[in-house]
Subunit: 626 residues, 2 copies
């Protein structure tokens, strides 16, 4: 193998290519010989290998040489990887304490799938060879079901098509109707997660119906508060197969995004039933099919027997509405942040916004703009960062690569940093943010705003990944709070309501006309419980949050319930991971997916642990950021 | 300058780069010194320089050293080009008899604009230096009005936006209403040409209203015959700023394209009034404004005073409907191909399709598929080519570059071959097509089908550019004709109609229930005459077709009528050239465009000649192909 002693930053492109190629060849050779000790020794002692589906149909994060070795020993043989080859030209980067990394994409295959990977090699003390600090292996496509995209677009025989009595529009309209058949997959929720997953499923020939309770695709965004725009940049938020146009703005307004969702459903030929409510479902273990009941637009009910159900309800879960003594006597309006307040004439009126997350801040700011006298009630501490330079730091990778490479590639680069490593990286990064934002934070402290930097000093981005809540990217509300234009009441709770008055737990009170509850949503597991019963809810377990295994809980991957998946999260997660959910479902339908009980973690008696703290609070925080 | 004696095909990328750079430096140096003799000598003796707007606000094709020299002498000084620099890595290609070309993009600027160019260098006998066989210079953007795209996307200040009472949706809806203002530009027609031009105008801040007579954007495609799909491949047909998704099919069905148009209008934030009819317009030379009358959806009339009017009616011009003796007595249905025949129950009935262009063939094939007894009446000879391998040859460039580089770049490469050179190249190319298709053509000849290869043996593609008619890309109708499943009556006219009977000019007759007139559309100049009167129609002159100057007549560029433009053609032309129409209009609004009388061609007393044969027949043929 090529010596790594050349300083990476000074090496030529050809040298970098040779080093990467030699490393990959040695890696492949050791795997070929099933010499897992040698393979594991090619990892940095502090290195992470993340595998998405290729070698065990799971999302798996392994940290350190020993873990890698024992995992390979247990798993690799059943679905061995081979024909590893470099893809494109390596680049030199940096990560954490490693000032120089050699990074590259690679391709490989197993007996049933084509794979793609991404590696970051670094130097290690007392070694002449570069070692993998991060290594990602992912399933790209099932060999038998390649994606018909780009150079492999679907090509119809026009000779036949031109003589057929039914044209494309006729066929689409029949497919959408489900008059004499049921879909294989019912996706509950037609927001970004449901639609992107349905697009990917359709792409590999899986008959999928998306049901959406609102009147029109996109209403999940359209019906939200008036001033809402995405707080993160467009470079993060492109849709699968269909990036946003090059002339769209950096920050997408909610209605513009809503219209995009609607057209996306059309452009991707997704079967969506709007005005359709999910009424509940049971699973038949013998038949391996669901019985789901749908409330249709015309008031009737339809029962379907799909093999798979995907929960993609996102923010449309159950609003978390606290009960207060005296609510009946209050006499003013009490609305949850999920409801639209555009109709309220708020000018000159007193409004209390309960909650200091993103929605709380946005709504307070918007109400202030409409002339209301706004007080924000902050019940617990929050992480606040500036929009720039701080909030964009975590997705610098996407900014740099936007329009330069396909976003699917950037998603692989991002996925190659597992959550536990991400948390480590965000400690110094979030301290840098606090340093950059010190004036803003001092101002907030001065007016009594309660700040924190996350439980392990990892800042807003990890709060997003863990709780989808507990932070605010300042687009101006913090300034209004500092200037006293939005009044603040911090560290107290509501004790009770009196007529047009709120009494706080410290005994103080506020005369108010309207109370807006920006209090988030109940945990998604509770929605599953209500719709599918205790058994299934318990099998699925808590949803979202980073588990002990370093992966998100019950998201995108197989859950404890066969044929049951959860999709969701912001646009980037929904885009990147719907790829894998679609592959899992297709594999199951084609008989390629081993039965749940035979997968390694159950066979070996492992019980996957839930997150330390359930991902409760508000899924909407994440939606906002993407 | 670097010697060109290295064989291009064997040269390294670095050598190619150096040769291109040296050539460009010498070219720039000669221009800098205004040494037009030296500049012209850098052209191949048979070379073409095409300039789109940069040096004289015209579309200009110059052939040969002398023409280039005199044009530079006359034109260049007024708006001199400078800071020429290579863009990206040159490539080695081939064109016509030149087996090896060195091709490269370059950038430059004038005092007011940034330019982009594309050059093809070739070897020339008795010269050590490479010479430009084709040289394209184009206006890319006005320096003062850069495009906000890609890395320069619009970035709103969220602090301000979040406090404003009006959000994006409110602002869009107010802009679209034109309650208390008029637009600067009224575009007549909301098909692909009108929409892409409006998108480009909006992008550089020009207030533009598109009016569309149908109920819904896209109806121009939706309402056409049932089996219609584009006959050319998707790689040609991407929209400006918004390429089709990577998973769309190679051949786009009409309804799918129609829906795309509708969403494009929305995604590009184009102000469209549907159900709105253009009633006529006059130009006020003094005020330099139009008075246009619009018939609105609610039955009222609105008068507007825009400074510019763009005719983008495409196929929606006036159908060309021949009159026959006995039409009143016929008793069966007589419909033009622009009308939808889906409602007709044709099974088992006898139908005569008059016309052997693309619509004639498609409709005959579709009727056959629906069980009709179809006869095609071919009145004059037609060019027929196979879908593959022949019809795709002219756009091999787009196939090769699809997904590899931005289509705007491919458009530049395509535009760098001027129409007169294109005609020369299509003589051998169309002969190759005939060779490849000889079985098909022999079969057609055998049943009496009248074939030709264009007036100068240039085949279908030049017919498209000259007449938008007179050819058919075989997607199966030719086979049905050869097999006798579609009957053919060739080389005759309709003499008269009798009850349920057609009498031909050769005395034969046909019993028939329905006559479909696939007889195309009247010349667009006639539509202009009807709407704007004789003066303006005469000033504009014949529209479409290749003029004596080697450019399309009255298309995309300035016309003889100030403030009056025509957009149209298929998707590729509409996409590529709308860029220049938008720049011309913006330049006029910003006072950068010299008055029409002061431009070179009028000042020097030149009168631009119309095409040898007016672009009559059917604009729809071109629409079909893109």
């Amino acid at each position: 193998m090529e010596k790594s002693l050349v300083a990476l930053r000074e090496s030529s492109a050809a040298q970098q290519y040779n080093i990467a190629e030699a490393w990959l060849a040695a890696f492949a050779g050791a795997l070929e010989q099933r010499d897992y000790i040698r393979v594991a020794a090619m990892m940095h002692s502090d290195g992470y290998w993340r595998d998405l589906l290729t070698f065990g149909w799971e999302f798996k994060t392994l940290h350190g040489v020993d873990k890698v070795q024992s995992w390979l020993t247990e798993t690799f043989d059943a679905q061995a990887g081979r024909t590893f080859r470099l893809e494109g030209q390596p680049t030199v980067g940096a990560i954490g304490e490693h000032g120089a990394t050699l990074e590259f994409f690679f391709r490989f295959e197993t007996s049933i799938a084509h794979g793609r990977g991404y590696a970051r090699l670094v130097e290690e003390a007392r070694s002449v060879d570069l070692k993998a600090f991060t290594l990602l292996t992912t399933m790209h496509e099932l060999k038998k079901f390649p994606q018909a995209t780009a150079r492999n677009r679907p090509r119809e025989d026009l000779r036949i098509a031109s003589c057929q009595p039914e044209n494309w529009a006729d066929r689409r309209s029949a497919a959408r109707r489900y008059r004499d058949r049921d879909p294989e997959v019912v996706v509950i929720g037609g927001g970004q997660s449901g639609l992107m997953l349905a697009a990917r499923l359709g792409q590999i020939g899986v008959d999928t119906l998306v049901i959406e309770k609102t009147r029109r695709v996109g209403d999940v965004w359209r019906n939200r508060y008036h001033s809402l725009q995405l707080h993160n940049e467009i470079c993060m938020n492109h849709f699968a197969y269909m990036p946003f146009p090059e002339n769209w703005p950096v920050f997408i307004p909610k209605d513009k995004l809503a219209n995009w969702l609607e057209f996306y459903a059309e452009a991707m030929e997704i079967n969506v039933w709007t005005n359709t409510t999910f009424l509940g479902g049971q699973y038949d273990d013998g038949e391996k099919r669901w019985t789901v009941r749908l409330g249709l637009a015309d008031g009737t009910t339809r029962t379907m027997r799909p093999s798979h159900v995907v929960v993609a309800v996102g923010v449309s879960g159950i609003p978390s509405i606290p009960k207060f003594d005296g609510m009946d006597e209050f006499g003013g309006a009490i609305v949850h942040s999920s409801e639209n307040t555009d109709g309220f004439d708020v000018a000159g009126r007193s409004v209390l916004v309960v909650g200091a997350g993103t929605s709380g801040h946005d709504i307070a700011q918007s109400l202030y703009g409409r002339g209301a006298h706004v007080t924000m009630l902050q019940r617990s501490s929050v992480t606040v960062v500036s929009l720039e330079p701080s909030s964009v730091r975590p997705y610098e990778l996407y900014r740099r690569n936007d329009g330069v490479r396909p976003i699917a590639d950037t998603d692989l680069m991002a996925a190659s940093v597992p959550y536990p490593l991400l948390a480590r990286l965000h400690q110094p990064l979030s301290r840098q943010m606090m340093e950059d934002d010190k004036e803003l934070l001092a101002g907030l402290r001065k007016v009594g705003f309660l700040l924190d930097n996350g439980e392990d000093d990892t800042g807003y981005f990890l709060k997003l990944l863990r709780y989808q809540a507990g932070y605010y990217l300042n687009i101006g509300a913090s300034d209004l709070i500092i200037e006293g234009k939005i009044k603040l009441k911090a560290g107290v709770e509501i004790a009770e309501l009196k007529p047009k008055q709120v009494i706080f737990s410290d005994g103080t009170s506020l005369v108010t006309d309207i109370v807006v509850l920006a209090t988030g949503y109940k945990p998604l597991q509770e929605w599953v419980r209500a719709m599918f019963g205790d058994d299934i809810a318990d099998r699925v377990g808590p949803i979202w949050g980073i588990g002990e295994d370093g992966e998100l809980c019950a998201m995108y991957a197989r859950t404890g319930q066969e044929g049951f998946y959860v999709s969701g999260g912001g646009l980037p997660g929904a885009r990147a991971y719907s790829h894998f959910t679609a592959l899992l479902i297709k594999a199951a339908l084609e008989g390629l997916l081993p039965a749940r009980s035979a997968t390694r973690s159950e066979a070996s008696g492992e019980r996957r642990e839930g997150p330390k703290r359930a991902g409760h609070a508000s899924a909407q925080e994440l939606q906002r950021i993407g």
